[in-house]
C-alpha cells in the first residue's frame, strides 16, 4: 500500500505512535477526532450518571452541593465543546474529502493543528476540576455576575474560559478548512446540486462556526479581562449581565444548529441507502439546511424571554423561532417521503436514523411550545427545557452520530460491526433515553427547576426522578455494549469490500479502509449519486 508521499517521509515517521502524532492525513485526523471526542463523551456521560444518582431520590447526599454545580457545568460544556462539535468535525474530516473525490483537505497541516488544539483545549477545560477553589460552577452558560471574580473566586472559571478559547480556535480553523475544501476541491462534474447532503450540512456547519464562534471568543475574553485585569465590561450597573447573555446566545443558539445540521446530513445519507431509493427532494433538503442555518442566527433571544425584554422584541424572537420550524418540518416530511415505498433494510444505521426521526420530532415540537413565550415564562429554566434540549441534542444529534458511526464503520476500519450487538445497543439506548427524558417534561411542569442538586418532594415527583435515573442507567449500559462492539469489531470483525451497503456516494468508491491517497482516479460525476451511476453502467456493460 506504499505510495510516493510515504516513501518521501523520514523513517522516524513510520513508528506506529509517531506516525499518528505527526499525521496530516485527513482520515487519520478524522479518526483521532472521533476517538478523542468519544473519550470525552464517556467522561461527560459519567458526569451525567453522577447527577442522575444524586437526583434519584429526595434529599440525597451523594454529591456535595458545590460538586454538583461543577459537574452540571462541566457535563454541559464538555458535551457541547468536547463531544458533539468535534465528533462532527471528525466525521467531516474523514468523509468530506472522500465524498467530493479529493485526496485530502485543502490545508492538511492546519487540519492537524486544529485537532491538537482541540485536544489541548479539552484537557485544559477538564483541568478546571483541579483548580484550588473548585471547577467552574455557573453552568455551561456561565452567566455573569455568577462567573465574575467576586462570585466565582479561584481559577476554575479562568480554565473554563481558556478551554473555550482553545476549542473555539480549533473549530474556527477546522471550519475555514472545510469551506475552502468544499469550494475548491470537488471532483470533475460535482456541481453544487450534486454534492452529498452530508457535505452540504458540513458547509452550513462551517459557515455558522466562522460567523458565531468569534462572538463567544470575544465574550470569554472580556470576562477574563473583568476577572483578571479589573475591567468592567460586564459590570451590573452598565447592563453587563444582559450583554453577556446576548453575546453568549448569539453564539449559543446557532451552536445548537451547528450540532444538529451535520447529524441531519448523516440522516439524509443513511435513509436513501437503506430504503433503496433516492432522497426525496434533494434540493428541498439542501436548501432547508441553508434556511435553518440562516434563521438560526435570528432567534438567539428566545433563551432570554424572562430577562424583562420589551414585549415587541419577545414577539419578534418568538416569530423567528416559530419560522425555524418551517424548514425543519420540510426536512421531516422529505425524509418520511424517502421511506415511502422503499425496501427498508433494518440494519443499525437505519435503526438509529429512524430513532432520530421519531425523537427529533418530539424535540422540535416542544421547541415550538417554548417559542410561544408566555408558556416559556413557566417552562424557562425548568426540567421541561432540559427534556426539550436532550430530545434535540441526544434523541436528534447523538442518534444521528450513532447512525453515522455504524454506517461508516466498515469504511473506516475495513471491517463490519456486530449487527446483533448493534441492535441491542439501539433498543437499550432508545428505551433508556425515553425513560430518562420523557418524565422530565412532566417534572418541569410540576415546577422542578434546572441545575438543582436535590429536592424535598416525595410522591410522584420523586417517582419521575427514579424513572429518569433508571433510564440514565440503561443508557450507560447501552454505551458499554457499543464500546464492546466497536473495540471487538475493529480488531476482529468480518472484512468487507469497498461498498458493503450498495451506497450512492464517492467515499464507497475508495477501498475500505481507503488508501492514503484516497483514490487513484475518480469517475466523472454526473449526478448526486455517482456510485449508483457507476454500478448501473457496469451492469449495462455486463448484459
Amino acid at each position: 500500500m506504499s505510495t510516493r508521499s510515504e516513501a518521501l517521509a523520514p523513517t522516524w515517521k513510520e513508528g506506529s505512535v509517531t506516525s499518528w502524532l505527526t499525521t496530516a492525513d485527513h482520515k487519520r485526523i478524522g479518526i483521532l477526532y472521533i476517538v478523542t471526542s468519544f473519550i470525552f463523551f464517556g467522561a461527560a456521560g459519567v458526569m451525567a450518571m453522577l447527577m442522575r444518582i444524586q437526583l434519584s431520590h429526595a434529599n440525597s447526599g451523594f454529591l456535595t452541593k458545590g460538586a454538583y454545580n461543577e459537574v452540571v457545568t462541566m457535563h454541559g460544556t464538555a458535551m457541547v465543546f468536547l463531544f458533539v462539535v468535534p465528533v462532527l468535525a471528525g466525521f467531516g474530516n474523514y468523509l468530506v474529502p472522500l465524498m467530493i473525490g479529493a485526496r485530502d483537505m485543502a490545508f492538511p497541516r492546519l487540519n492537524a493543528a486544529s485537532y491538537w488544539l482541540f485536544l489541548l483545549g479539552g484537557l485544559v477545560l477538564l483541568s478546571s476540576f483541579l483548580a484550588d477553589q473548585g471547577g467552574a460552577q455557573c453552568g455551561w452558560t456561565s452567566y455573569t455576575p455568577c462567573s465574575s471574580e467576586q462570585f466565582s473566586p479561584g481559577h476554575g472559571q479562568d480554565l473554563w474560559i481558556l478551554g473555550i478559547h482553545l476549542t473555539g480556535v480549533a473549530s474556527i480553523l477546522g471550519a475555514i478548512n472545510f469551506i475552502v475544501t468544499i469550494h475548491n476541491m470537488r471532483a470533475p462534474g460535482m456541481t453544487w446540486m450534486r454534492i452529498p447532503l452530508f457535505t452540504w450540512a458540513i458547509e452550513a456547519y462551517s459557515v455558522l462556526l466562522v460567523l458565531v464562534l468569534p462572538t463567544i471568543a470575544a465574550a470569554a475574553t472580556l470576562l477574563l479581562l473583568d476577572r483578571q485585569a479589573g475591567t468592567t465590561f460586564f459590570a451590573p450597573e452598565d447592563g453587563g449581565p444582559i450583554l453577556w447573555q446576548h453575546m453568549f446566545w448569539f453564539f449559543g443558539h446557532p451552536e445548537v444548529y451547528i450540532m444538529v445540521l451535520p447529524a441531519m446530513g448523516i440522516i439524509s445519507e443513511v435513509l436513501p441507502v437503506f430504503s433503496r431509493k433516492p432522497i426525496f427532494g434533494y434540493k428541498a433538503v439542501a436548501f432547508s439546511t441553508i434556511g435553518i442555518a440562516f434563521a438560526s442566527m435570528l432567534v438567539w433571544a428566545h433563551h432570554m424571554f424572562t430577562i424583562g425584554m420589551p414585549t415587541y422584541l419577545q414577539a419578534f424572537f418568538a416569530a423567528t423561532s416559530l419560522a425555524v420550524a418551517v424548514p425543519t418540518s420540510v426536512k421531516i416530511f422529505n425524509w418520511l417521503a424517502t421511506l415511502w415505498r422503499g425496501h427498508l433494510i433494518f440494519r443499525a444505521p437505519l435503526m438509529f436514523a429512524l430513532g432520530f426521526l421519531g425523537l427529533f420530532t418530539i424535540g422540535g415540537l416542544t421547541g415550538i411550545m417554548l417559542a410561544v413565550f408566555p408558556f416559556d415564562y413557566q417552562a424557562q429554566d425548568s426540567y421541561f427545557v432540559v427534556a426539550h434540549m436532550h430530545y434535540v441534542l441526544f434523541g436528534g444529534t447523538v442518534f444521528g452520530v450513532f447512525a453515522g458511526v455504524y454506517y461508516w464503520f466498515p469504511k473506516i476500519t475495513g471491517r463490519m460491526y456486530d449487527e446483533r450487538l448493534a441492535q441491542i445497543h439501539f433498543w437499550l439506548l432508545f428505551v433508556g433515553f425515553n425513560l430518562a427524558f420523557l418524565p422530565q417534561h412532566l417534572l418541569g411542569l410540576m415546577g422542578m427547576q434546572r441545575r438543582i442538586y436535590t429536592y424535598t418532594q416525595g410522591g410522584i415527583f420523586e417517582w419521575y426522578n427514579v424513572i429518569s435515573s433508571i433510564g440514565a442507567l440503561l443508557m450507560g449500559v447501552a454505551m458499554l455494549v457499543f464500546l464492546w462492539n466497536a473495540v471487538a469489531s475493529w480488531r476482529s470483525g468480518r472484512r468487507v469490500g469497498p461498498d458493503p451497503w450498495g451506497a450512492d456516494t464517492l467515499e464507497w468508491y475508495a477501498s475500505s479502509p481507503p488508501a492514503p491517497n484516497n483514490f487513484d482516479s475518480v469517475p466523472y460525476v454526473t449526478s448526486a449519486r455517482p456510485l449508483r451511476d457507476l454500478r448501473l453502467r457496469l451492469q449495462e456493460r455486463e448484459t
Partner: protein, 336 residues
C-alpha cells in the same frame, strides 16, 4: 418481530405516562394552578399549543411507524433490489412547506393576542400594591410601600393587583411561583416588573429558577395571600424587632450556617466573635469575604438592608443563647 416490539414498547411507555400523569394531576400534564388571571392565560395557551403539537406528533409518528411496517423489505426481495426511483414532487413539497407556515403564523398571532392577559396589562393604571423584591444569595427580601420588610415570605392582600419590582443584589436569580404566574429574572443593575392579581387566599410555594450558586436548590419563597385585614396585621407583626431578626437569621444566615449556627456549606459560627459584635457583623454582611480555608466565599448578604434590619438581627442573636454563646467543642472548621 420488529412490529411487535415497536407496538409493545410504545404501548408500555404511553400507558406508564398516562397512569403517571393521571396520578400527578394537576401537576403532571400542565403548569400548576393557575390561581391568577395571568396564570390562567398561560395555561390556556399551553393547552392550545400542546393540542396542536399533539396532532402533529400523532400524524408524524403514525406515518413513521406505518412506513416502517408497510415498507420493510420482504424476505423474497434481495437487499440490492431498488425501490421506485422517486426524486421528489414539487407540488407536494410546496404544500407541506406552506401548511406548517400557515399554522405557525396563526399560532404566532394567537399568542400575541394573549399578551395583555398574561402581563396583567392595565394593572399599572389601577390602584395597586407595589412590592420591591431583592434577590440575594440565597434568600428573598420583600420591601413594602410602608417601609416594611419581610424575608422569604411575601404577604399579599387577596384580589388586589400587585406589581413586583425585581432586582438582584449579587448575581442573577429568577422569581418563580408556578401556581401564580410565570417566572421573572431578578438581575443586578436592573429592575424588572411582574404583575398579577392573586384571587385565592392561601400559601403558594416558589423558588429560584436561575442557577445562582451553591445553595441554588434551597432558595424557597412563599407567597401568603391573605384578606386585607390579615395582611395588614401580619405585616405589622413581622416588623416587630425580634420577629424581623428571626426571619432574617433563618432566611439569610441559616441557609448556609445552619439553624443553630452549627455550620453547613458555610463554617460553624455559633458564638463567633463577629456574630456577637454588631458593628463587625454589619461590616461583614455588607462586604462579604473570601477566606481560602473555607470551601465557599461569604456573599455580601446584607446589601441594601435598612439599619433596623441589622439591629433586628443583632437583637435576635443576642436573645438566642445557642447563637450568642460558643459551644465548648466547636472549632471553626469548614462545613460541608
Amino acid at each position: 418481530m420488529l412490529r411487535k416490539l415497536v407496538a409493545a414498547v410504545s404501548i408500555a411507555v404511553l400507558s406508564a405516562f398516562a397512569a403517571g400523569s393521571a396520578f400527578a394531576a394537576p401537576g403532571g400534564l400542565g403548569p400548576p394552578g393557575p390561581d391568577t388571571p395571568s396564570g390562567e392565560a398561560i395555561s390556556r395557551l399551553y393547552w392550545i399549543v400542546l393540542g396542536l403539537c399533539a396532532v402533529v406528533f400523532v400524524l408524524v409518528e403514525t406515518a413513521l411507524i406505518l412506513f416502517i411496517v408497510r415498507f420493510r423489505r420482504r424476505h423474497d426481495t434481495p437487499e440490492s433490489a431498488e425501490g421506485p426511483q422517486i426524486h421528489g414532487n414539487t407540488r407536494l413539497e410546496i404544500i407541506w412547506t406552506a401548511i406548517p407556515a400557515i399554522i405557525l403564523a396563526a399560532l404566532a398571532i394567537f399568542t400575541f393576542t394573549q399578551i395583555p392577559a398574561v402581563q396583567a396589562r392595565g394593572v399599572e393604571d389601577e390602584a395597586h400594591l407595589t412590592v420591591r423584591v431583592e434577590a440575594h444569595q440565597f434568600y428573598w427580601e420583600y420591601r413594602y410601600p410602608g417601609g416594611e420588610t419581610t424575608v422569604n415570605t411575601l404577604y399579599l392582600p387577596v384580589d388586589e393587583p400587585v406589581e413586583l419590582e425585581l432586582t438582584g443584589m449579587d448575581v442573577i436569580h429568577s422569581w418563580w411561583v408556578p401556581a401564580l404566574t410565570g417566572k421573572m429574572d431578578a438581575i443586578p443593575g436592573r429592575i424588572n416588573s411582574l404583575r398579577f392579581v392573586p384571587e385565592t387566599t392561601g400559601d403558594f410555594e416558589g423558588k429560584c429558577a436561575e442557577l445562582c450558586g451553591v445553595q441554588h436548590a434551597f432558595m424557597p419563597t412563599t407567597v401568603s395571600v391573605l384578606s386585607r385585614d390579615d395582611f395588614e396585621s401580619t405585616l405589622a407583626a413581622q416588623q416587630e424587632t425580634l420577629a424581623l431578626g428571626k426571619a432574617t437569621w433563618e432566611g439569610a444566615c441559616a441557609t448556609c450556617h445552619g439553624l443553630d449556627g452549627q455550620g453547613d456549606v458555610g463554617p460553624s459560627i455559633a458564638g463567633n466573635g463577629t456574630l456577637t459584635n454588631p458593628e463587625a457583623l454589619q461590616e461583614l454582611l455588607l462586604t462579604g469575604q473570601d477566606t481560602p480555608q473555607f470551601d465557599y466565599y461569604m456573599p455580601p448578604v446584607g446589601r441594601g438592608w435598612p439599619q433596623k434590619q441589622f439591629d433586628a438581627l443583632s437583637a435576635y442573636i443576642k436573645s438566642n443563647e445557642t447563637l450568642s454563646t460558643a459551644p465548648a467543642t466547636t472549632t471553626t472548621g469548614g462545613g460541608g
